[in-house]
């Protein structure tokens, strides 16, 4: 594979798979935060 193809492949993977990973991590963190907030409100 040429250098330009490898660079494009890596950038595409980072943006698309990275975007998916970032949005999942955000969802997990905010769900933990909300659970903690709900628990604090119940106390």
């Amino acid at each position: 594979m040429t250098v330009s193809s490898i660079v494009v492949m890596i950038i595409g993977m980072v943006i698309i798979w990275g975007g998916l990973a970032a949005s999942i991590i955000h969802a997990v963190r905010s769900s933990k935060k909300n659970k903690a907030r709900d628990a604090a409100n119940n106390v």
């Binding site: 330009s4 490898i6 950038i11 595409g12 943006i15 998916l20 949005s23 905010s30």
Partner: protein
């Protein structure tokens, strides 16, 4: 009647991803990317994802969540009878798609069995069209029923309707929680094996090699927007229906980002796997990758069996995994497409969910027998072209124009999404929906209308695939028009009294 609800957020996301990830991700995206600049295609593709795909997903998730109904009921609650017809139009487009989509899943199911001993032999094209589909009639003729297609088709409908009968949580959610991880694992195995084949790097080079001149061509941008649009299951009534089952506290904006990126992540994986396998085949035959690259039915049922034939070992296993992936990707999408009219019929007429599944799904199953006949492929090909271009794309255009410009609901919906979501929507969302999406879809629709009305296809008749005027009108134009006409007719009747009242302040 209490409204069904997803059991978990992950369950909803799996179902939405299951709907978006379908046959097109595997057999359409790789070729569209290859044909439109290779690696450079990722620039318009990502731009289209962020300025059209995800904004429309957020719009549909918000509509379903705010108005808490199937697409027709949600649009009715948003704008009364003046909008309800659009929901029904989308529902009938989904109905038509479901009747032929089920047949393609039936083929994939049958090919999973054929893979065990490569029953397709050496001439895979002759096997598909003559032995398997028995395509010996002229376009427009049905011929007899092909039992080899009819039996798996019956099985596809039994599975789909069985899942829908079990309900939203115990049926759709549970099925997707099983099917989606299974699909990912199986497809990952296929891709890993494909990239380790001789010639795989040549295939990947063909797929990723950037042609940056291509992104100056407007048709490449239209192809990117068109692909994102068809790939994400937007304008099908699906995402509105699915999000209507979300609990009140739901982060709908991030759900849309996860769904959009997951769909793209899967199709990028598919592109790598498909082109690695095509590179292997090209190396075996001593030809260029461009000579074997293709899309759609030809890629899945003609070229892939050839690749499986030439495999160095475990041919049966690789073939089974590939066709099983197609079957699972198709099934999760078919479930979501069928759910749109199950929910719509149930709410409009106040009938139980089970009756709606048996009536709506049963009717679709009966009509789908037309596509299990000897001439079924011609009907399928024509209906698919017209319903996608003049159904799904047209609905997308009309939907954004009506919601943003005519009924001016964008700010209200933005407010609702921001109230419950972690990621706040800014001006980019309204700009994408109100300006970018209508311009691109409008340009695309204009080109399509011109192509079809002026008969500019490079075929003998000037029509799509060279079909006759009569067959094009009856099997394509009339089918696309029927979805709109039925949509308008269904919006005339009153809603069952339980759905009548809705407080927009909810």
């Amino acid at each position: 009647m209490e409204r069904s609800q997803w059991g978990t957020r992950a369950g909803f996301i799996m179902a939405a991803v299951g709907s978006a990830v379908g046959l097109g991700n595997i057999w359409r995206f790789p070729y569209v990317a290859y044909e439109n600049g290779g690696g450079a295609f990722f620039i318009p593709y990502l731009f289209a994802l962020l300025t059209a795909g995800i904004p429309i997903l957020i719009l549909e998730f918000t509509i379903g969540h705010k108005y808490r109904g199937s697409a027709p009921l949600s649009f009715f609650r948003m704008g009364g009878k003046k909008l309800e017809w659009m929901g029904w139009w989308a529902v009938f487009v989904s109905f038509i798609i479901s009747v032929y989509y089920a047949v393609i899943i039936a083929w994939a199911m049958r090919y999973t069995i054929f893979s065990f001993n490569q029953a397709w032999g050496t001439d895979t094209q002759d096997f598909l069209f003559n032995d398997f589909l028995q395509l010996t009639v002229q376009p427009g003729q049905t011929g007899g029923i092909v039992w080899g297609v009819f039996i798996p088709l019956a099985l596809v409908w039994i599975i789909t309707l069985g899942i829908l009968l079990a309900g939203v949580k115990k049926g759709i959610e549970l099925a997707n929680r099983i099917f989606i991880p299974t699909l990912v694992v199986i497809f990952l195995a296929v891709v890993i094996r494909a990239v380790t084949l001789d010639g795989a790097l040549t295939g990947l080079e063909a797929f990723f090699q950037p042609d940056f001149d291509a992104i100056l061509n407007p048709t490449v941008w239209v192809a990117a927007y068109g692909h994102i649009f068809f790939s994400l299951s937007v304008a099908f009534a699906i995402m509105i229906t699915y999000s209507s089952y979300l609990p009140k506290k739901s982060d709908i904006t991030n759900n849309a980002f996860i769904t959009g990126f997951a769909n793209s992540a899967f199709e990028l994986l598919a592109g790598i796997g498909i082109f690695a396998a095509l590179g292997f085949m090209a190396a075996q035959q001593g030809v260029a990758v461009g000579d074997v690259a293709t899309a759609g039915v030809g890629l899945a049922f003609v070229v892939f069996p050839q690749i499986i034939n030439e495999f160095p070992g475990f041919n049966g296993l690789f073939g089974t995994l590939f066709f099983l992936s197609l079957t699972l990707a198709g099934l999760t999408s078919l479930i979501s497409i069928t759910e749109t009219y199950v929910a719509g019929f149930s709410e409009k007429f106040g009938i139980s969910r089970n009756k709606a599944v048996l009536f709506g799904g049963g009717l679709a199953a009966l009509i789908s027998i037309l596509f299990a006949t000897q001439g079924g492929l011609y009907f399928l090909d024509l209906a698919d072209y017209f319903i996608n271009q003049f159904g799904v794309a047209a609905i997308g255009l009309v939907e954004v124009v009506l919601v943003v410009w005519v009924f001016r609901k964008a700010d209200l919906l933005k407010g609702h999404a921001n109230e419950i979501s972690d990621i706040r929507l800014g001006a980019w969302w309204k700009f994408s929906l109100g300006i970018i999406t209508p311009i691109v879809l409008g340009y695309m629709m204009f080109g399509l209308l011109k192509l079809n009305i002026l008969k500019e296809f490079e075929t003998e008749t000037g029509n799509y695939e060279g079909y006759s005027d009569m067959f094009t009108l009856a099997g394509g134009v009339a089918v696309a028009a029927a979805a709109l006409i039925f949509g308008i007719l269904f919006s005339i009747g009153k809603w069952h009294k339980e759905q009548g009242e809705y407080d927009e302040r909810n």
